[in-house]
C-alpha cells in the first residue's frame, strides 16, 4: 500500500517507510544511539527532499528522546541545572542553524553542506570511537591496567561564570556547556540529527561529567533543541511531515526493542567498535558520492 506523504509530496510504500524506521530503530536500540545520522541520509537517498528529511527527522527525534529520557528521569539521572544551560545554548544554536539552513537552500548548496558536515563529523567520531574500542578490547586482555583521573583539567575550566552542578559533581564555567550546546544545536539543525554522537563524548571528555548523568541530560537537551527546530522549520519552510515522522516512529519503536535485546548480548567495547564501523561506512559512502563523477552534472529542482 502506497502513502502519499502530504508535506514531502512524494508517494512511498508504507512497508518501506516503516521498515526504514524499524531498521534504524534496531541499530539505535542495539547501540543506544539516536539514529538520526543514519535516518536523514537514508531519507534523502530514498528521494525525500533534503529540507523535509531534516525537519521531519527533528520531529521524530523529539519523540524518541522523550521516550528515552523518561527512564533516566525515573532513575534520577537527569542533571536539570546542567540541562537548563544546555537547552539555552541549544536553542540559540539551533535557531542559527535553521536560519543557515534556509540561506544555504536558497543558494542551492544545502545538500553539499549536509554531506560535508556528515563526512567531517562522522569521520572524526568514527575514527575516535574505533580507536577507543580497539584500545578497550586490548586492555581487557591484559588485566591490571591502571585507571586515570576522573577528568583532566585544562584552560577551558578556567573560564569565568563558574557554576556548581551538584548532580554531576562539577564546578565549571557555565559558558562551556552553553557554547558546546550551541555548536551542537547548529549541527543538529543542518544535519537533521539529535547530535548525541557529539554531545555525549563532549560532555564526558570536555565537561568531565560522570557517565550516568550524561545520557539522560543529553536527551533532555535534544528534546528541546529538536522541538525548536520542528517549530522553526514549520513556520519558515513548512517542511515538517508529521505523517512521515509518525510512520518512521512506529517502526523505530518496535525495532529498538529488538535491537536492545541483541545489544545486551554483546560487550560494550564490541558494540562501540561495531558502531564505529557503521559510522565510518556511512561516512565513506558520502565521500565516495562527493568525489566520483556524477552520471549527470545537471540537476533540476522545482521551486514553489
Amino acid at each position: 500500500m502506497y502513502i502519499y506523504l502530504p508535506i514531502a509530496e512524494i508517494s512511498m510504500h508504507i512497508a518501506v517507510v516503516v521498515g526504514l524506521g524499524g531498521g534504524v530503530g534496531f541499530l539505535s536500540g542495539m547501540f543506544g544511539v539516536g539514529g538520526g545520522f543514519l535516518m536523514t541520509p537514508l531519507l534523502i537517498f530514498l528521494g525525500v527532499p533534503s529540507a523535509v528529511a531534516v525537519s521531519t527527522e527533528a520531529n521524530q527525534i523529539v519523540a524518541s528522546s522523550v521516550s528515552g529520557v523518561l527512564a533516566h528521569w525515573r532513575r534520577g539521572n537527569v542533571d536539570f541545572k546542567m540541562g537548563g544551560i544546555l537547552v539555552a545554548g541549544g536553542l540559540v544554536g539551533s535557531s542559527i542553524g535553521v536560519l543557515l539552513f534556509s540561506i544555504l537552500r536558497d543558494i542551492g548548496q544545502i545538500d553539499l553542506v549536509i554531506r560535508l558536515s556528515y563526512v567531517v563529523f562522522l569521520g572524526i567520531i568514527g575514527v575516535l570511537m574505533l580507536m577507543e574500542s580497539v584500545r578497550a578490547i586490548m586492555q581487557t586482555r591484559q588485566p591490571g591496567a591502571k585507571r586515570g583521573k576522573l577528568h583532566q583539567h585544562n584552560w577551558l575550566h578556567g573560564l569565568p561564570l563558574k557554576v556548581r552542578f551538584r548532580k554531576s559533581k562539577l564546578y565549571i564555567s557555565a559558558l562551556l556547556p552553553f557554547f558546546l550546546s550551541a555548536f551542537v544545536g547548529v549541527l543538529s539543525a543542518i544535519m537533521g540529527v539529535g547530535g548525541g554522537f557529539i554531545l555525549v563524548p563532549a560532555m564526558i571528555y570536555l565537561l568531565g561529567m560522570p557517565t550516568y548523568t550524561v545520557i539522560g541530560t543529553s536527551l533532555f537537551q535534544i528534546i528541546f533543541v529538536t522541538a525548536n527546530i520542528t517549530i522553526l522549520q514549520s513556520v519558515q519552510t513548512q517542511t515538517v511531515d508529521f505523517v512521515l515522522a509518525g510512520l518512521l516512529l512506529v517502526g523505530a519503536v518496535i525495532g529498538a526493542q529488538f535491537g536492545a535485546r541483541v545489544g545486551a548480548l554483546l560487550r560494550g567495547e564490541q558494540l562501540r567498535g561495531l558502531l564505529a564501523l557503521i559510522v565510518l561506512a556511512v561516512c565513506l559512502k558520502l565521500v565516495f558520492d562527493l568525489v566520483i563523477t556524477p552520471e549527470d552534472v545537471f540537476s533540476v529542482e522545482l521551486l514553489k
Binding site: M1, Y2, I3, Y4, P6, I7, E9, I10, S11, N59, Q60, V62, A63, S64, S65, V66, S67, G68, L70, A71, G108, Q109, L112, L116, I223, A227, T230, I231, L232, Q233, S234, V235, Q238, V240, F242, V243, A245, G246, L249, V253, Q257, L290, V291, I292, T293, P294, D296, V297, F298, S299, V300, E301, L302, L303, K304
Partner: protein, 252 residues
C-alpha cells in the same frame, strides 16, 4: 468505471450526430474519462484514458499535448572544485511546464515537419521559456536546454509518447495517459490536434484539474495556513507518541 464507458459512448454519439450535420471542414472532439484527478493519501499516480472522434473527413494523424501548470524550475550544474563535485551554476526557468507529455499515432517527425513543430510550438525544445539570465552563447544555451529536457524526462514529467494514439476506423481515437505520483496540482491543459499532410486541420482543447483532497489536503493546508500551530502540534504529537512508546515497552 461505468461513467468512463458512458463518456466514451457519448463521444461516439457526438461523432454520429456530427456526421449528419452538413459540415465540410473537419471538426474534432476529445475528452478524458475523468473530470478531476484527486491526490488522496494513497495516491500513487493515476491512469487516464483520452478519447475522441474526428468528423468531416478521415482522421489521419492525431497529436495530443498534455500540459501541466507552469512552475519555476532551478537547473543546477555541478563542477569539480578541489576534488569534490558541487553546484557551481544555476539557471532559473521562470515558467516551465511542470508536466509536458506529447502523444502521437506515428513519430512526431513523420506527422509534422521540424518547421511546423516549431511554428505550432510542439515539443520540449519549442516551448517558450523565460530564463533568469540571457544566454548569449548559443551552444551553451542549447546544452542547458537539453539538460532541462533530459532531467524532466528522467522524472517522468516530460515525455514524448510516440505511436501511443490508436486511431479506430479513421474516426475514433484514444490514448492511455499516465500521471505519475510526483505531479504538481493545478489545471492541466489537453490540446488535441488533427493533422493532415503536415497541416493542422482541426483542434480541440479540454482541461482537467489535479487537486489534493481528503486528509492529506487538510494536513497540507494546516501546515501552510497555520504553520505555527502546525509546528506546536507536531511537537505535542511527538511528545505524546514518545511517552506512549515508553509506557508500552516499560520494563516489567
Amino acid at each position: 468505471m461505468t461513467s468512463r464507458v458512458y463518456n466514451y459512448l457519448l463521444a461516439i454519439l457526438l461523432l454520429v450526430t456530427g456526421w449528419t450535420c452538413p459540415v465540410h471542414s473537419s471538426t474534432l472532439v476529445a475528452d478524458l474519462d475523468l473530470d478531476q484527478v484527486s491526490i488522496t493519501i494513497d495516491f500513487n499516480g493515476e491512469s487516464l484514458l483520452l478519447f475522441g472522434a474526428v468528423s468531416g473527413g478521415t482522421a489521419s494523424d492525431i497529436i495530443v499535448i498534455f500540459k501541466g501548470p507552469d512552475v519555476p524550475l532551478a537547473l543546477r550544474k555541478k563542477e569539480r572544485a578541489s576534488g569534490i563535485w558541487m553546484n557551481r551554476q544555476t539557471i532559473i526557468w521562470q515558467n516551465a511546464p511542470s508536466f509536458y507529455h506529447i502523444f502521437s499515432n506515428r513519430t512526431l517527425d513523420e506527422v509534422l515537419s521540424e518547421e511546423q513543430q516549431a511554428r505550432l510550438r510542439i515539443g520540449a525544445e519549442h516551448i517558450g521559456l523565460r530564463t533568469s539570465q540571457v544566454m548569449l552563447d548559443k551552444e551553451k544555451a542549447k546544452a542547458w536546454r537539453s539538460a532541462l529536457t533530459s532531467n524532466m524526462t528522467e522524472r517522468g514529467l516530460w515525455k514524448l509518447n510516440e505511436r501511443n494514439v490508436s486511431i479506430i476506423r479513421g474516426a475514433l481515437f484514444r490514448a492511455p495517459v499516465y500521471l505519475p505520483a510526483n505531479i504538481v496540482p493545478g489545471e492541466y491543459e489537453v490540446r488535441v490536434l488533427h493533422v493532415q499532410n503536415n497541416q493542422l486541420v482541426a483542434e480541440d482543447t479540454t482541461y482537467i484539474s489535479v487537486a489534493k483532497t481528503g486528509i492529506g489536503a487538510m494536513i497540507y493546508a494546516f501546515a501552510h495556513d497555520y504553520s505555527i500551530f502546525y509546528g506546536f502540534f507536531a511537537v505535542c504529537f511527538a511528545v505524546f507518541a514518545g511517552w506512549l512508546a515508553a509506557a508500552a515497552f516499560r520494563k516489567q
